[in-house]
């Protein structure tokens, strides 16, 4: 299904069928995860490196556990205290890792397009674990998996994504993925955090959160980066919470059986109120479990494609 595709760089480039294929595999992996003995031989003999230029304990842990559950050997390189910090270029670092016979490189990078640059220069499969404001495909896949699990489908659902759309790779990947699978996606947030011409991706833009939430099947909050406030993109977290935060009252605009997602970690009381976070609509904890399942599926599907032993390019 994924054909000769060596890398998972984003959902923008995947077809609806490819996305569904990954999601189906993730369901199988979730079954494996639910077993007492989680160890499977799927990735026996495969080597996986996480190359993180940006801290993210959650995402890294999720990938590492996924790799270990499937018997891969996994190691990590972080930007601090390595050659990465000493001015070695991304391409040089990638080639060095590649020469060690690595099958998959999982990269997190603060600059958009960095995984694309790496993918062009290494034999290993490159999995994007978040690049700049561009994409975070496995996060969107786990969101989609969670939605599908609860709703039985994605097609025809109304999904509202609320908050800092402009700087969110989670929002972008979800927009590409959800619209491809036939969901209606609405976005809302401060005008300063809505990227230009986002409507061209097929989403609807609303000025008020209530309007975006109206009759939504799924509500997705995004994390607010506090440094955006200093840059004048919104005045205070207090004002943000008042106009754009999701609380019980606002959530009433959504459908009664609406789901609430958030990529975490949540700024409590800013983008989501505590009653909502811990409320019955919230799937924030399920998302974490599904994250491991999705990453197991992705590693399994792509480990066969990369690495020096294969001639797929």
């Amino acid at each position: 299904m994924l054909g000769k595709r060596k890398d998972l760089l984003g959902l923008k480039d995947l077809s609806a069928e490819e996305i569904k294929y990954i999601l189906n595999n993730a369901e199988t992996m979730k079954y494996v995860l639910s077993q007492k003995n989680k160890k499977t031989p799927h990735l026996q003999g495969k080597s996986i490196i996480t190359l993180f230029y940006e801290n993210s304990t959650r995402t890294r842990l999720s990938f590492e556990l996924a790799a270990k559950y499937m018997s891969a050997s996994a190691a990590n390189i972080s930007a601090s205290g390595s050659s990465v910090a000493k001015g070695e270029t991304l391409i040089d670092t990638g080639k060095t890792i590649d020469m060690m016979g690595t099958d998959i490189i999982i990269i997190r990078h603060p600059m958009s397009g960095a995984p694309h640059l790496l993918a062009k220069n290494v034999k290993a499969s490159v999995i994007n674990a978040g690049d700049g404001m561009n994409e975070h495909p496995t996060q969107a896949l786990l969101d989609m998996m969670t939605i599908k699990e609860k709703k039985g489908k994605i097609k025809g659902l109304k999904v509202a994504i609320i908050g800092d759309i402009a700087h969110s790779r989670v929002a972008r990947s979800n927009i590409w993925g959800l619209t491809k699978l036939g969901a209606e996606v609405c976005v809302a947030g401060p005008a300063t955090l809505i990227p230009p011409e986002i409507e061209k991706t097929g989403v609807k833009v609303f000025n008020s959160v209530q309007e975006a939430l109206l009759d939504a099947d799924v509500v997705m909050g995004l994390r607010i980066q506090l440094e955006r406030q200093k840059r004048g993109l919104f005045p205070t977290t207090r004002e943000y919470a008042r106009f754009f935060g999701i609380d019980d009252k606002r959530l009433m605009f959504a459908k009664e059986d609406a789901l609430l997602l958030h990529p975490g970690p949540v700024n409590r009381g800013v983008e989501l109120s505590s009653d909502v976070i811990d409320g019955e609509k919230s799937l924030i904890n399920e998302q974490v479990t599904n994250g491991v399942a999705v990453r197991m599926a992705v590693l399994y599907l792509f480990a066969r494609k990369g690495g020096s032993n294969e001639n797929i390019n």
Binding site: M111, S112, H116, L117, G132, M133, N134, R169, E197
Partner: protein, 430 residues
């Protein structure tokens, strides 16, 4: 040394020549231009220009030669050779070198180096402010006496409006044109490409077109209140074209240039995080490209400059955010003009030459850009219909950064003659 260029179609907009004529060159000067000239002798080089155009050598009023300081990207020798194969016989180089061209000694250095190793005429441009820091005026008077043809802080705007006003007043006393790189840095922020659908699509930080428009408007106001001419570098937006058009209609002494990439490419070229398409100002939208073409057609845009900005491969083969801005401009500029402006009927060949020879010479006050009798013989012979495929590996520049690799363009330079000396003969750089 005598040269006779026979049977070519001579186009010389300044002297209103557009006819099949021969040109006779002796001791570096153009001696005669007429029909069917008859000169002979063993020491004469006869160039058969049948089917080709014979035109004044091109003048680039905006390039970066990188010497002193960044010779790993380009130096005066390689830069002038790159210019020569592109048909340029005179070029004006920007002062953002290291050290900056903000004092007499560096002006002398560039001039001497160009005389010794350069193959085309090089005219240094001095800094507006010391060290291009935008804090204090450079010694513009002294720079002028040392030989600069203009001043500019190109690469950076002069953000301080008061300082820019003083610069205009002061430079005018020395008849020194001021070239402004228009960019409001507070609006640019950490943007790396044009702001619009493509930046949203790629998840790259955008630069609003307003960053250019606001600064162009400011500089026009300052030119108006000081009564000093100003030249706006590399116009890239529909807004800037419109603002300049209105200013010219009011009689403001404003001139401007654009570069081939702004009438041939849009921000779509960035797709795939293509760093060869990263420039400053960034590639804009279809609407801007159309406006730039319209501005060229109606005379709002006076000049086509290259903004030749060579960079080492290591500065482009990195994450898009980190990549250096700019392209190797000399070697594709003429063909891009012919292919995208002349062949499409936007400009005549004569109008293209007006923007690549006559107007830049006028703005910089150079007695160049035409085929005058007893003037230094800066002449090129081009085949305007010959197609070729751009190959960055064949560039004479030390650098390879160009988004046009693999493009099929029309227009080749067969001869470049500088001061009566043949530099390019039958498409081969000597």
């Amino acid at each position: 040394m005598r040269i006779l260029i026979k049977n070519g179609h001579v186009i010389d907009p300044k002297n209103r020549r557009d006819d099949k004529l021969d040109i006779y060159i002796e001791n570096g000067l153009i001696v005669e231009i007429d029909k069917e000239l008859d000169y002979s002798g063993g020491d004469i080089e006869v160039i058969d220009a049948e089917g080709k155009l014979v035109v004044p050598g091109l003048i680039d009023m905006h390039c970066h030669l990188r010497e002193p300081g960044y010779e790993y990207k380009e130096d005066i020798e390689s830069g002038t050779r790159s210019a020569a194969v592109g048909g340029f016989t005179s070029i004006a180089c920007m002062p953002n070198t290291n050290p900056v061209i903000d004092n007499q000694a560096i002006v002398e250095y560039v001039k001497t180096k160009a005389k010794n190793v350069g193959v085309v005429n090089v005219y240094p441009i001095g800094a507006i402010t010391k060290g291009l820091k935008g804090e204090e005026l450079a010694e513009i008077g002294e720079l002028k006496f040392a030989g600069v043809v203009a001043v500019s802080d190109d690469g950076k705007p002069v953000m301080n409006s008061s300082l820019m006003r003083r610069a205009l007043q002061y430079a005018n006393m020395f008849d020194t044109p001021v070239i402004s790189h228009c960019e409001d840095l507070t609006l640019v922020g950490d943007g790396v490409m044009n702001e619009g659908y493509m930046s949203t699509y790629l998840g790259l930080k955008g630069i609003t077109r307003a960053a250019e428009d606001v600064m162009v408007a400011r500089d026009i106001v300052l030119s108006e209140v000081t009564g000093t001419p100003i030249h706006i570098a590399h116009v890239s937006t529909a807004g800037a074209v419109e603002i300049i058009r209105h200013a010219k209609a009011r009689g403001v002494k404003v001139t401007c240039e654009t570069c081939p990439h702004y009438f041939t490419l849009t921000d779509k070229a960035v797709e795939g995080y293509n760093t060869a398409a990263k420039m400053n100002p960034p590639l804009r939208t279809e609407e801007d490209v159309e406006a730039v073409k319209e501005g060229l057609k109606d005379g709002t845009i006076d000049v086509i400059a290259t903004d030749h900005a060579p960079h080492h491969i290591d500065e482009k083969n990195v994450e898009f955010d980190k990549a250096a801005n700019g392209i190797v401009g000399f070697e594709t500029a003429l063909a891009l003009g012919i292919t995208y402006l002349v062949d499409t009927g936007i400009l005549t060949m004569s109008q293209l030459l007006q923007k690549m020879c006559v107007n830049p010479a006028n703005i910089l006050g150079l007695n160049k850009g035409s085929l005058g009798i007893n003037r230094p013989a800066d002449v090129i012979v081009i085949d305007k219909n010959e197609e070729y495929i751009v190959d960055i590996n064949k560039f004479q520049s030390k650098s390879r950064n160009s988004p046009y690799h693999g493009y099929t363009l029309k227009g080749t330079v067969h001869y470049t003659i500088v001061g009566g000396k043949v530099i390019v003969r039958q498409k081969v750089l000597l």
